[in-house]
């Protein structure tokens, strides 16, 4: 170790220029990959995305002979292939919240905003880097889950579906797109609330508590409101079939994008205005 008492003056350093959005993005990439929470959350998301469909496919295949006609009719190969997305979204959402609330909890945000005092480049870079990483990390397991579950179900012709069948490619790739948008939405909630527990609870409330509560409402209200909830609108991105009470993939997906944009806009306004 360098001697503590040694007086060593600060070596000069060329002033390499200004803060740019691209440089902040590189910095955010370093921040993201240098934390254990990132690696664990993404590993969990990958394992769930592949593991659950493989498990469901195996169980379905082995019990097929003893299933009733109704039960068999209720099985759809794409539901099996994308079953993991519904669960891994929680890992992605937790990480999305943590990406920003972790900085508030530890005080890192002060260092970040001292280096980038305009602040918004930090929000944009965090969002872009996390979204890109989430999409690129979850796309392979989503594809793998589709082909693996199809392979496991190979002896049941009725459960076979081609990747080129209308809507299938969109649904499968849509699984990764959905997870990416969930990550963005969660990050924005984290930026608004600046608190890890509050951010995760709010996400869980919007995605897992409010939708079932809708069933308490009169059916006509339920049918009028539910399709427009973020979780329901977003789900259409990776759903092959759509009934009369759900939005089509594109309107649903765009509505979810709108929710993400709204949450990010609120986060941006608050980020610039609030004391740190």
């Amino acid at each position: 170790m360098n001697s503590n008492a040694a007086v060593q003056l600060l070596p000069r350093e060329a002033h390499t220029g200004r803060v740019t959005q691209a440089r902040v993005a590189v910095s955010e990439w370093t921040k993201l990959h240098s934390l254990r929470s990132t690696r664990w959350s993404l590993l969990a998301a990958v394992l769930l995305t592949i593991g659950l469909p493989v498990l469901f496919a195996a169980v379905t295949s082995s019990h097929w002979g003893s299933m009733s006609a109704d039960e068999r009719a209720g099985r759809h190969p794409l539901d099996i292939a994308l079953a993991g997305v519904n669960v891994s979204q929680l890992a992605i959402a937790v990480l999305g919240v943590l990406v920003i609330t972790g900085e508030y909890a530890t005080g890192m945000i002060r260092a970040s905003f001292t280096a980038v005092p305009k602040r918004l480049p930090v929000l944009w870079a965090k969002t872009a880097v996390f979204a890109a990483v989430t999409f690129l990390i979850t796309l392979p397991p989503v594809l793998a889950a589709f082909f693996a579950s199809q392979a496991i179900l190979a002896r049941h012709d009725i459960l076979q579906i081609s990747f080129t069948h209308p809507g299938v490619t969109r649904s499968v790739v849509g699984g990764a797109v959905y997870l990416m948008l969930v990550g963005i939405f969660a990050l924005a909630i984290g930026a608004i609330l600046r608190n890890t527990a509050g951010g995760i609870a709010t996400f869980a409330g919007i995605f897992f508590v409010i939708p079932p509560l809708m069933n308490i409402l009169p059916t006509s209200w339920n049918n009028a409101i539910t399709p427009y909830l973020p979780s329901e609108a977003g789900r259409q991105i990776f759903s092959l079939t759509h009934d009369s009470h759900s939005l089509a993939p594109w309107p649903g997906g765009l509505l979810f994008v709108g929710y993400c944009a709204l949450a990010l806009a609120i986060a941006a306004v608050l980020l610039v205005r609030r004391d740190t």
Partner: protein, 317 residues
């Protein structure tokens, strides 16, 4: 390109900050100049950290403004090259290594990795650079904070209580570093609640209490003002000297047969009086009041005085 020294300043104008109904900073105006160490002295809770957060644009002032090198901090295109800051509150993600922490900050400005290694060596964190910062001792955390502050080779260095948690060796290192940075022509602004520490490091002092400025003066002048009011005089003709020194503002206490303690006169004045009366002096010593004590007297008097002034103003309104 080197900037002109005159632009390397921190300048606060009527800076105020309220948190709810509590006024943390109250109409502060001051200028921090390059080439010297400026101490920012005040008791805990007097508004030093808040002022520094306002300088860095982390908090927005309720009134007034503060600029660094002539610009609001938020408008600096490359802030790490202009201001290096160490805040009192930890500003490091506990799960990230010291190396990655510094790297992430460096990358916002396109500062190369070589510089990160250089700073890690400079502050003596080489052996623990890859360990998570959450495992660091207070002193190691402080060294990491110093490394972050110096990363961009800034023209202004602003450190909030930098010797907190440092061992004696570290404190010595810090003093030399601060003096060296100032000698290189940088603006060095250092806060402390310890006057003894500031007396050793700072050339100039800005003293605040309850968010208000109490003094803005050279350290030497501040010390002499705080300690120069009591003088011990030893003279074989102490009786005649006592008579000559008598005056409305002067109190003379006899400690021994030939020893007087004089309040209200400078040592130089006492010497002159003795000389004019052809009296022999064996000792003439200004008494150093404990620095902390002097500081407490000064802040208490001033704050009470100003509070009384405000009450009168409010009563008149």
């Amino acid at each position: 390109m080197e900037q002109l020294p005159s632009t390397r300043v921190i300048e606060a104008r009527d800076l105020s900050k309220d948190y709810g109904d509590k006024r943390a900073v109250d109409g502060l105006s001051f200028t921090v100049r390059p080439g010297i160490v400026t101490g920012f002295l005040g008791p805990n809770g007097s508004g030093k950290s808040t002022t520094m957060r306002l300088i860095l644009g982390l908090d927005a002032p309720t009134a007034g403004d503060v600029s660094v090198n002539g610009k609001s901090y938020r408008d600096l295109a490359a802030p790490l090259h202009e201001v290096g800051a160490l805040l009192e509150a930890r500003s490091v993600h506990t799960g990230r290594s010291a190396y990655n922490h510094l790297l992430a900050l460096a990358q916002t400005h396109g500062i190369p990795r070589r510089r990160v290694d250089e700073l890690i060596d400079l502050v003596g964190l080489h052996d623990v650079a890859r360990k998570r910062a959450g495992k660091f001792s207070l002193g190691m955390g402080q060294r990491l904070g110093i490394a972050s502050a110096l990363l961009g080779d800034p023209s202004t260095v602003m450190l909030d209580e930098p010797v907190n948690g440092l061992d004696p060796e570290g404190i010595h290192w810090m003093r030399n570093l601060l003096r060296g940075l100032a000698a290189e022509g940088r603006t060095v602004f250092v806060s402390s609640h310890l006057m003894s520490e500031m007396a050793l490091t700072a050339d100039h002092l800005i003293v605040i209490g309850r968010g208000r400025k109490i003094a803005d003066t050279s350290t030497d002048e501040f010390l002499s003002r705080a300690s120069g009011s009591v003088v011990r005089v030893r003279s074989p003709q102490s009786g005649r000297l006592e008579a000559l020194l008598a005056g409305p503002e002067v109190t003379v206490t006899r400690l021994e047969a030939d020893l007087l303690e004089v309040r209200g006169l400078e040592a130089s004045r006492i010497g002159e009086v003795a000389s004019q009366g052809s009296l022999t002096l064996h000792e003439l010593t200004p008494q150093l009041v404990s620095l902390e004590e002097a500081f407490m007297n000064l802040t208490r008097d001033d704050v009470e005085f100003k509070a009384a002034e405000v009450d009168r103003t409010e009563a008149a309104a």
